[in-house]
């Protein structure tokens, strides 16, 4: 029995507990045996069995009160897609209780199980299955207890509303509360627990309203973790360097003695020991000055004063600019090795190409993108000697805990308690090791001896955050006399800072395509690091698929095939074919073998191989208007069909599709990070505009609900088909092919002029 599970049990017990006789293992003893901070915390996001191994005790997942109220703990956090509501539906159905009976607790590292980072579209596809198994273990245990209590066989028992009854004899019944209320199960989670059959679900599959929306609309306590407050908290703002890598030479030290200023603290970065000792701290190099004040407006004013007077040693440390980066990627990339047997496959492809009736080649590209969360990064830290508490928007509270513990010089992560919670949408901004705001806030709190709420400015959020890596994708295909693909080759150039995001998945979406294309040779090249990079919603897949789905259209038209027919003729997968049919029928697609002028374009994506947690099938049809004078594109409508297996919450799925379409339309039409040789130059919403109300398309969603298939996640997949559907629609409208994102007026006009 570990110290951690004891802490959870004690915290779970609340009033009326019956935990007696356990002695607390001295945590200092445990740390002497193993240097805890040396080990990166496990991230079991993709690994359900590992989640159970990390938290094997059922009592660490669920508690039932004497009155039948059920608390369930999850390691995932709510970042705006309604995931906690879906998990609550699964728990309630598996336990045969009403939805409202469940209190789902998340975000507190002292008590929740580590289910890995809330990212990579793994909550429904992985974490939910673990939760279901834990709930099923509890239900089966309750049935066993009830059988004994009622003197009946399990087979005779029915459950409804948390009450177990002998079938046909309602006088013989017992409630969950009476069976275990306030007591521990003292059981292990059974990975093979008998699950409730899908046919018996009554809550899963319905559009239960989201549990978090009402409090967000009424500004209620606990609405957003951003609204966390601690008595006596101070306010911190930062002056960052004017260039990446710049060193602070001097600043006006009299600012520190102004009224209301608690401290003015310069940081060398790299060079400050507290930052240097944090493994995986991802912020770009650049000294900075932190101001801590009694009032936030005074901190802001002090930063502006310091900005005027500070002197820096700044130089150009970025090897290229946003205009030139694509050529630079191709010139400087070194092979990643995406396919183990690449040489053999490449040889097969070369043979196919040599024998082909026709060959076709095209090169596509996509830029660095800002995550652009509406909330700029922030953190609240309260350091009290050898214990700290942090409130954060992190997608991985356990990762934040580890990094903060290092920054504070602690021996154990457990000296830090992190509260994650419902936050502003993040899209990956606070993934794995992107917890620099927590690290900075904790250091400041430790330095001034008071709780500190650090707020990054909007400019910092744009310039000092990480970005989606850019890509150049060159595709080449061989075609037979009938116009079918006999071989496909993809070369992908990108620039990754370190392994963040993992360059080994740079071609995963392309490699996973279900199209029958003969030998599929894929290689990636990494020219990094240029700017800070990270896991941004769909990571590399969006650009992989922008290239592939544009290319499918280009091939189709070149062999005088209708783009929909052409795709169908390269698919054996019934689910793929069905989803394409659903979208194109809803959109009123009529077959055409050359641009129709209507401005309609299709795209199909299977997000990842069918065994993965996010293996969702999507087909989108975009309808656009193109102003041929200016090159401006207006997406009028997007018709979307998706198959994500068994749907847990239909309205939740629809909400995510709408959101993913709008966000990805914004990326496709408007967005690119701009930078010069010194620093990122897109620094606010004016220099980095996103889609606004007048520009939003009409969105039609068709859900193909497969109750016989496992439920899969959709958070990232819903963004992927958008860019290519729009580019294909632009071609259909005008005969102009745009291969380089964003599809802004300049690029579209250039393509129009080149016709």
């Amino acid at each position: 029995m570990s110290a951690r599970s004891l802490n959870r049990r004690q915290l779970l017990s609340g009033a009326g507990a019956m935990i007696v006789g356990f002695s607390l293992i001295d945590p200092r003893l445990a740390s002497a045996q193993e240097p805890k901070l040396a080990k990166i915390p496990t991230n079991p996001a993709f690994d359900g069995p590992a989640q159970i191994e990390l938290t094997p005790d059922l009592d660490s997942w669920i508690k039932i009160d004497a009155d039948g109220a059920i608390s369930f703990l999850t390691g995932r956090v709510e970042i705006g897609n309604g995931i906690l509501t879906a998990l609550q539906q699964i728990i309630a159905d598996e336990l045969s209780v009403s939805f409202e009976t469940i209190d789902l607790i998340s975000g507190d590292t002292d008590i929740v199980p580590n289910q890995g980072i809330t990212s990579a579209t793994t909550t429904i596809g992985v974490a939910a299955n673990v939760i279901r198994v834990a709930a099923a273990t509890a239900r089966n245990a309750l049935l066993d207890l009830a059988a004994t209590e009622l003197g009946a066989d399990r087979a005779e028992l029915e459950i409804a509303g948390g009450v177990v009854t002998v079938a046909g004899d309602s006088s013989r019944s017992v409630s969950y509360g009476d069976l275990v209320g306030g007591k521990l199960f003292d059981l292990k989670v059974d990975p093979d627990a008998e699950l409730k059959p899908v046919e018996e679900f009554t809550i899963i599959g319905t559009s239960v309203p989201r549990t978090d929306i009402p409090r967000k609309l009424s500004a209620a306590k606990g609405d957003f973790v951003e609204n966390s407050r601690v008595d006596g908290m101070k306010f911190a703002r930062i002056l960052r360097a004017p260039a990446f890598g710049a060193k602070l030479l001097k600043y006006d030290e009299t600012v520190a003695s102004q009224p209301g200023i608690v401290a003015v603290l310069p940081f060398k970065h790299p060079g400050d020991e507290r930052l240097d000792r944090v493994e995986r701290l991802e912020t770009m190099p650049g000294d900075f000055i932190a101001v801590v004040a009694d009032r936030e407006d005074l901190a802001i004013a002090a930063v502006e004063q310091l900005r005027k007077s500070a002197e820096w040693d700044a130089s150009e440390t970025i090897p290229t600019t946003s205009d030139e980066v694509y050529d630079w990627l191709v010139a400087n990339g070194t092979a990643i090795g995406l396919q183990e047997d690449h040489n053999a496959i490449q040889a097969e492809f070369d043979t196919a190409l040599a024998a082909a009736d026709q060959t076709i080649e095209a090169t596509y590209s996509g830029p660095y993108l800002h995550y652009g969360p509406i909330s700029s990064a922030w953190s609240l830290a309260d350091v009290q000697g050898d214990h700290a508490t942090v409130w954060t928007a992190s997608q991985w509270p356990f990762g934040a805990r580890w990094m903060v513990a290092q920054a504070l010089g602690y021996e154990e992560s457990e000296q830090v308690q992190v509260f994650g919670g419902s936050s502003s949408g993040l899209y990956g901004r606070r993934d794995d090791y992107d917890q620099e705001a927590d690290v900075e806030a904790a250091i400041l709190s430790q330095a001034v001896g008071a709780p500190v709420r650090l707020q990054w400015s909007r400019a910092e959020e744009f310039v000092w955050a990480q970005y989606r890596p850019p890509q150049v994708v060159r595709l080449q295909a061989g075609l037979d006399a009938g116009g079918s693909i006999t071989g496909l080759s993809g070369n992908i150039w990108t620039a990754v800072r370190g392994v963040h995001p993992d360059p080994m998945i740079a071609g995963m979406a392309l490699m996973d395509t279900p199209y029958t294309v003969g030998p599929l040779a894929v290689e990636g090249f990494d020219a990094g690091p240029v700017l800070r990079t990270g896991y941004m919603r769909n990571v590399y897949s969006g650009y992989n698929m922008f290239a592939l789905e544009s290319f499918m259209d280009e091939i189709a038209y070149s062999v005088k095939a209708d783009p929909v027919e052409f795709r169908m003729s390269h698919l054996n997968d019934e689910r793929a074919i069905d989803v394409i049919r659903a979208a194109t029928e809803k959109a009123g697609w009529t077959a055409h073998t050359e641009p129709s002028g209507a401005g309609i374009g299709v795209s199909f994506v299977l997000y990842h191989k069918s065994e993965g947690p996010a293996a969702t099938y999507l087909a989108y049809v975009a309808e656009v208007d193109v102003d041929e004078e200016s090159g401006a594109v207006r997406v009028q409508k997007m018709t979307c069909a998706l198959d994500c297996g068994l749907v847990v919450n239909p309205d939740g799925v629809k909400n995510q599709v709408e959101g993913g379409v709008i966000q990805a339309t914004s990326w496709a039409l408007k967005e690119q990070v701009t930078f010069d040789r010194s620093i990122v130059t897109s620094h606010d919403w004016a220099t980095y505009p996103i889609l606004t109300f007048p520009e939003v398309p009409e969105i039609d969603v068709v859900i193909v609900n497969r109750v016989d298939q496992p439920w899969k996640g959709i958070g990232e997949p819903v963004t992927v088909p958008v860019a290519s559907a729009i580019a294909n629609a632009i071609y259909d409208a005008t005969g102009a092919r745009v291969r380089h994102l964003p599809l802004n007026p300049d690029r579209v006009k250039a393509a129009l002029d080149a016709r």
Partner: protein, 156 residues
């Protein structure tokens, strides 16, 4: 420190501020209001929107001196007996939120729109909200929620 009296959600409060102190931080940090949010601090996104004498104002750069003798209303103040008011309830009924962080601005703008145009068209709404940013892409539902609030308001 300097003291100023301001009226927020119907209650006069004494706060610690200079005349040029930005209203947003006073509302959030001293009055502990959850409604108005920090998004950009540049008046570019609208997450900080409040109503001052019924007019929408971006509080992140509004000096507190401008609210002297005026009524400030925040999202918190739209609640009726601790429960969501009609515009807020319309948003809840339409499930018009993904992360919900921008929604303060949307509701405050909707409230001011409906006060002067009780029956707005979709285009009226889009124009009125053109400078309010939503990154999650909830625009479609926000428009529906405002139409619903208008219809339910008209029905009363």
């Amino acid at each position: 420190m300097a003291e100023i009296v301001i009226k927020v959600n119907g209650v006069s409060q004494t706060v610690d501020a200079a005349p040029e102190s930005q209203l947003l931080y006073i509302l959030r940090n001293q009055l502990h209001l959850n409604g108005p949010k920090f998004g950009c601090g540049l008046t570019q996104c609208g997450a900080c929107t409040v109503l001052i004498d019924g007019q929408p104002v971006r509080s992140c750069l509004a000096p507190v001196s401008i609210v002297e003798d005026k009524d400030v209303v925040t999202l918190d103040g739209l609640n009726v007996d601790g429960k969501p008011g009609p515009v807020q309830q319309a948003f809840i009924d339409e499930q018009a939120a993904q992360c919900g962080y921008c929604i303060n601005g949307m509701v405050m703008m909707a409230t001011s729109l409906l006060a002067k145009n009780p029956n707005p068209t979709d285009d009226d709404i889009r124009t009125h909200l053109a400078a309010n940013l939503c990154r999650c892409g909830t625009h479609t539902r926000i428009i529906k929620a405002i139409k619903r609030a208008a219809a339910e308001g008209a029905a009363q």
